[in-house]
Symmetry: C3
Subunit: 306 residues, 3 copies
Amino acid sequence: MNWHHIISADQFDCDSIKELFELARNIKKNPGLFHKDLADKVMFELFYQASTRTRFSFDLAMKKLGGRVIGTENARIFSSATKGETLEDTILTITVGLEADIIVLRYDKVGGAKRASQITETPIINAGDGPGEHPTQALLDLFTIQEELGRLNDFTIAMIGDPYHSRTIHSLARLLTLYKNVEIILVSPDEIGLDDETKKYLHERGLKFSHSKNLGKTLKKVDVAYMTRIQEEYFHNPEIYKKVFGQYVLSSKLIPSNLKLIMHPLPRKGEILFEVDKDPRAAYFRQVNYGLYIRMALLKLISDKV
Amino acid sequence: MNWHHIISADQFDCDSIKELFELARNIKKNPGLFHKDLADKVMFELFYQASTRTRFSFDLAMKKLGGRVIGTENARIFSSATKGETLEDTILTITVGLEADIIVLRYDKVGGAKRASQITETPIINAGDGPGEHPTQALLDLFTIQEELGRLNDFTIAMIGDPYHSRTIHSLARLLTLYKNVEIILVSPDEIGLDDETKKYLHERGLKFSHSKNLGKTLKKVDVAYMTRIQEEYFHNPEIYKKVFGQYVLSSKLIPSNLKLIMHPLPRKGEILFEVDKDPRAAYFRQVNYGLYIRMALLKLISDKV
Amino acid sequence: MNWHHIISADQFDCDSIKELFELARNIKKNPGLFHKDLADKVMFELFYQASTRTRFSFDLAMKKLGGRVIGTENARIFSSATKGETLEDTILTITVGLEADIIVLRYDKVGGAKRASQITETPIINAGDGPGEHPTQALLDLFTIQEELGRLNDFTIAMIGDPYHSRTIHSLARLLTLYKNVEIILVSPDEIGLDDETKKYLHERGLKFSHSKNLGKTLKKVDVAYMTRIQEEYFHNPEIYKKVFGQYVLSSKLIPSNLKLIMHPLPRKGEILFEVDKDPRAAYFRQVNYGLYIRMALLKLISDKV
C-alpha cells in the first residue's frame, strides 16, 4: 500500500495494517525514540465539523513526534468559507501557499477528503466526511481488538446501536472482511439496521453476518461488544428517534462471562451505564489511547514517504 | 499541603503559600533556569466558559516551562459536549486516552473541578467553576499584595463593587483569614453585600470585617483598594442591575495619600476611570503578570510531585 | 524606517521595502538558517474578525522562526470583550501582564491597530482594521510583482472588481506611488469605482490612473491583472450588490498574450474561473507563499530592533 492520502478504510490490506500496528506498538513502547521524527514538519488541521476527541488526538500525535500543528477548531464558522471559498481553494492556499506537509481534514459532507486529495500531492488524512468514512477510527478499533483480544481472525463481534448511521460500524465491518472466520451480529431496532451498501460489501467478500433484536442473548454468543450511540443528528423524523433511542443499554448484569471486550467509539449517550466502566473488559477509554499511537504511526509512515 | 488537584482556596495554608510565592519570585528573577522543566509534559485546557485572560495566562505559563498545550477555546460549543457527553467522560478520554499530565478546567457550573478530581489521578486545576471558586486568581491577588505592599499581615483592605457575586472577593477573603491583623471593609449597594456563607467563614475564623456605603471615607482608612465589576450576567432582575451599576467609580481625585495599592481582577467596566492607570499605585495590569508567575510556580510544583 | 509598529502602507519607503524583500528572499532560500531566530519570543494573535488565511500565515511565520504563538480565533466572541472590556485594556493585559513580544491584531473597526500602538511599546502589526488598512497584504502583493514580473518600475496594472471597498487595492495603489512610471487602470461598475481619498492620494503623488468598464480591452494594455472580490459585507443596499456582482469574470479566453501576471488577494467568489488556475501566469496561490516569507522577514526585522 501507498502511505499517502488516507481517504477510506477500503484502501488497506493485511500487510499494510500489520506494518502500521507494529510501528504503533513500537512507538507506544519507546515513545522517546520518535520524539523528533517529524521536527520541522507542519500539520494543518481543518475541521469543518466540531470534534474535540479526534482533533486533540491528531494534535497530540503530531506534537509527540516533534511536529508543528496549525489549525482551526471550526473551519466552517471561522474561515473564509463564510465568504464563499471552495474547499479546493482552501486546500491550495494551505498547500501551495503555506507549504503544509500533512492536512487532517474533517468535512461536513461525504467526499470532502477525496476532493481534497485530487488537487494536491500533500497527504490528506480523512478525519471524517459527514456520514461517509472515518478510516483512522476504523484502524484504531481494529488495533484495539488485536491488542486486547490478541487476534484478528477467529472471533465473533456484536455491533450494537445504530448500524444504519454509524460510519465507524461501516468502516470497521469493511476492514474485518480482510480477516478469516470473523462473524458479525448486528443488534438494533429494525428502523436502523445495517445499510444495503455495507451489507452488499460484506456479502461479496463472504463475511458472515446476521441481525438480532435481543441484546442479552447475542452477548452470550460473542467475544466482542461494539456499542454505538443512536445518532440523533441524522434522524429527519424525531418520532422515529424517540422510538429507537434507549432500547439497548449495557448494564453490568447484562455482561456474560464469555464476553472478552467492550468497545465504543465515544461519545456515549446512556447506552453504556457508568457502572460498566469498572469492568476490566470495558476498553473504550483505552481505545482512545490506541488511537493516539495509531495516528502517530500513520503520521510517521506518511512523512517517511514524502 | 499536597500539590496535586487545585480545587479551592481553602486547601492552602501559610506554609504552602510561602513555598509557592518563593518559587514564583525565583522564576520571575531567573526564567531561563526553568524553561525546560516541563518539557514533554502535556497540559490540556478545557474551557466550558470563555476566558481570554486566564486561558492565555496558563497557556503562556506552560509554554515558558517548555511544556505543550492542547486545548479548546469553548468546550461547550465545540466539543462532543454538544452530543451529550458528560464532563466525566471527557476527563477520562483526556486522561486515560490522551495521557494528559495536567488539566486546566473552567466549567460553567459550581463543582466541575471537584467532580473531575474525583475520577482521575491526573492533577486538575480549577480555572473557575461558574460562580464557585477560582483559586489561582485568589493566589495571584495575594501574591500581588505581598509583592506590592510588602506584607500579608497587619493591613486593611477595601473590597468594592459586587461582594455578593464576585468569586474573587470570596476566595481572597478566605485566604486572608490565614494572616494576622487583617481587616476588610466591604463597599457596595445593600443589594449585593457579602453573601452569608463567606460572612460565616470569616466570622468563624475571627477575621474582622464591616460594611460601608461611602467609598471616599473608606478609602481614607485602608491600605489596599480591591475594585470589582458588577457582574451583570448573574442578575436575574435587570432593574436591580440598573440600580446598582455605576454607584462606585474610582477617579484620581478620590484616591487619598494613605492608599498604597489599587487592585482589580479585570475586566473592568467603568468602575476605575482610565485616568487612574497612570497612578503608580494602580497595580491591576501588573497583577496579571504576578498571575503568570504564580501559575508557572504552580505547574512546576504539581509536576514535580507527579 | 523604524521597524516597530506596522500600522499602514504609508509608513514604508523604497529603502525599507528593499531591505524587507531582500531578507524575505534570503529566508525563502535558506529557511534553516533562521529557524531559531525568534526562539523564546511570544507572539499574540488577537483576531476580532475571522481570518483563516492571514492568521495561519502569521502563525506559521512565527513558528518557522522558532517563536511561540498564543492567540484566539475570534477575540470578539471568545474574549472578555463580551464583558465590555476596551481594546486598550486587552492590549495592556497582554503587554504589561503577559509580556507579549509582538501583537498581531485584526480589529473590526478602522483605527484599531493605531489605537493599540498608542498605548504600548510592544510592536503592533495591523492585520486588518475593518475597511481600513492591511499593510502586510500590500507588501506581499508588491513582493509578488517584484518576484514574478521582475520589476517595480515601468509597468501597467489593471485593478479589477471592487476598487471602492477593497482595502488591498487602496494599500497596494498607495505603495505603487513610490515607484516610477507605473500606471493603474481600474475596472469596475460605476457604483464601486475608486474612492475619492485614494484618488486624491495618487493624484498628489503623480501616479497615472484611469477607469475603464471594458475588461477585455483593458487586459490587452496591461502587464498585471489584480482581481478582487465584490465585498458583499460592505453593501448596505442588496439591490446594488446584485447589480454589480458577476460583471467582470476572468476566463482563459479573456487572457491575452501580453498579460504577464494574474493576482488575487483571495478568497475568490467566482470572479476568476477555476480553469484559469492552470495558467502559469496565475499567481494567486503563490502569492500566499510570498506572504509567508514577507511575514517571516517582518517578524525578524521587528524583533531584531526590540
